[in-house]
């Protein structure tokens, strides 16, 4: 199965019915949607923290590489974004 490719210059935002937040009872970041919850792993949570509707995919990679220096994160981050896009958690923002 191939996920639709995400261009590095695409601005990423959450799909409208999802909400992302830190959940103390779960000790993890979660995505909430109608009548459900997705518990995110630590790294997925860090990536989703950068999804703000303003930052591009490349910008997200850059931010994370600054936060976790010495790691080449491009491949992992882009892969996660593509999976998240395929599952409908995020979308690329239309220009204008």
């Amino acid at each position: 199965m191939t996920e639709p490719r995400i261009a590095p210059e695409a601005v990423i935002e959450l799909e409208r019915q999802y909400r992302f937040q830190w959940e103390p009872a779960q000790q993890s970041h979660v995505l909430l949607y109608p009548e459900g919850m997705i518990k995110l792993s630590g790294s997925a949570g860090e990536i989703m923290k950068c999804v703000d509707g303003k930052t591009t995919a490349a910008g997200i990679v850059e931010k994370l590489e600054r936060a976790f220096p010495g790691n080449d994160l491009r491949k992992d981050v882009m892969e996660f974004l593509e999976v998240a896009h395929g599952r409908g958690w995020i979308r690329t923002k239309q220009a204008g």
Partner: protein, 393 residues
């Protein structure tokens, strides 16, 4: 694991999971009279409604325990004028907030306030509550109202979620229902057959569809699904009477679901108040932590210590938890019995007898005319008298 041995584990140490889903039935008042309503048939006997402050405290306490989803339901929740306050506080607390409404009372002023307060989702239900069932779907008044509300929901950028309850008397109109959903621009459509609790149990013979009706409705729904693709996600729920294994009711007793009724009674499901021998706590007397962790009512059917055969030795007991306690009680008189939907239950004939009778074409054999949910019938049912009935068709 060098400590592992033959020492018996302490049963008291059983881990209790967090509630994830708080359902707030903020009122039993409702302008509709649906014959399949799952509110208690004796709702007129329930105590006064919780105050706004009580509800906000319940929201806070359940949130502290880990609840993330909040359903604001009823009755018709919009009968209360403090839903705006509740939504705003729920959002501040970090809930994903869902409003379950018939749309009656959903004005532009209110929806704007809900949006402002942070309401996440509106689930609109289509009710065929008219006493003249023949008017169903041809009632332009109802359709106009739903269309108006649907337009508001879109205008305020909510996903369009529609729930339609199906039963013997409307399921043959499935094409018209789907056409309506398409015209309204529905994105999530739930076509749920009646489950036979409360008012729907009283009216079960009139509500249960035949197998032929179900097959036909599902076929038409599948065609619609194929044609609509991603534009509309469709869920079709068959009555559990047509299953051979029970549903994993509430994902297990006291496992994820916490229901607080209009009068403050805390329940592991909508229907549990009827179970004999159990007393359920009221949020007026106890905090939610005690209710969830300590109250005898919430611990009654946790785990599997309470199970009898055939559940006790069944490999599926961790999957379906023996089905629904309320259904077991309503149909067999003992809540610790296997849900008779299960074909391993010695009481399974209680289900198949009803299903068999439902195959008789045309109108079901009427034991009594349909009993509509209203205050008068509820008062009569509270006294176990024969309810007022209205002839159909």
């Amino acid at each position: 694991m060098d400590e592992a041995g033959f020492a018996p584990s302490k049963p008291a140490e059983r881990k209790i999971s967090n509630p994830l889903w708080l359902n707030a039935e903020i009122t039993f008042r409702c302008p509709l009279h649906c014959a399949y309503c799952y509110n208690p048939v004796d709702y007129t006997r329930s105590g006064p409604e919780l105050s706004t402050e009580d509800w906000l405290r319940v929201f806070r306490e359940a949130r502290e325990l880990g609840a993330v989803q909040l359903g604001i339901s009823g009755g018709e929740p919009l009968m209360r004028d403090d839903v705006e306050v509740m939504v705003t506080e729920a959002h501040r607390l970090g809930y994903y907030t869902n409003l379950l409404t018939s749309g009656i009372g959903l004005t532009e002023k209110r929806i704007a306030a809900f949006k402002e307060g942070g309401l996440d989702q509106i689930q609109l239900s289509f009710q065929d509550s008219t006493r003249e069932l023949n008017d169903f779907l041809s009632s332009t008044r109802t359709f106009d109202l739903k269309s108006k509300v649907a337009k508001l929901i879109k205008q305020y950028e909510y996903p369009m979620v529609l729930n339609v309850v199906l039963h013997r008397l409307n399921i043959d109109h499935i094409q018209a229902i789907l056409d309506m959903a398409e015209a309204m621009g529905v994105e999530h459509l739930e076509l749920a057959n009646t489950q036979y609790y409360a008012w729907a149990l009283i009216n079960r013979d009139q509500l249960i569809p035949s197998r032929e009706q179900l097959v036909r409705a599902e076929e038409i729904t599948n065609q619609f699904r194929a044609r609509m693709g991603n534009r509309c996600k469709v869920y079709f729920v068959v009555p559990d009477y047509y299953a051979t294994r029970p549903k994993a009711c509430m994902n297990g007793w006291g496992s994820v679901f916490l229901n607080i009724a209009a009068d403050g009674l805390a329940l592991p499901c909508h229907e549990a108040r009827q179970l004999p021998g159990l007393t359920f706590p009221n949020v007026r007397d106890h905090d939610v932590r005690w209710i969830w962790h300590e109250s005898p009512g919430f611990n009654a059917y946790r785990g599997d210590d309470w199970m009898k055969e055939p559940c006790r030795s069944c490999p599926d007991k961790t999957k379906d938890f023996g089905g629904c306690r309320c259904q077991a009680y309503m149909l067999t008189g003992d809540a610790t019995n296997t849900d008779p939907v299960c074909d391993l239950s010695p009481n399974h004939h209680l289900i198949t007898d009803v299903v068999e009778k439902a195959q008789i074409p045309g109108q079901p054999v009427k034991v009594h005319p349909i009993v509509f949910r209203d205050d008068k019938n509820s008062r009569k049912l509270s006294q176990k008298e024969q309810p007022e009935t209205t002839p159909v068709g």
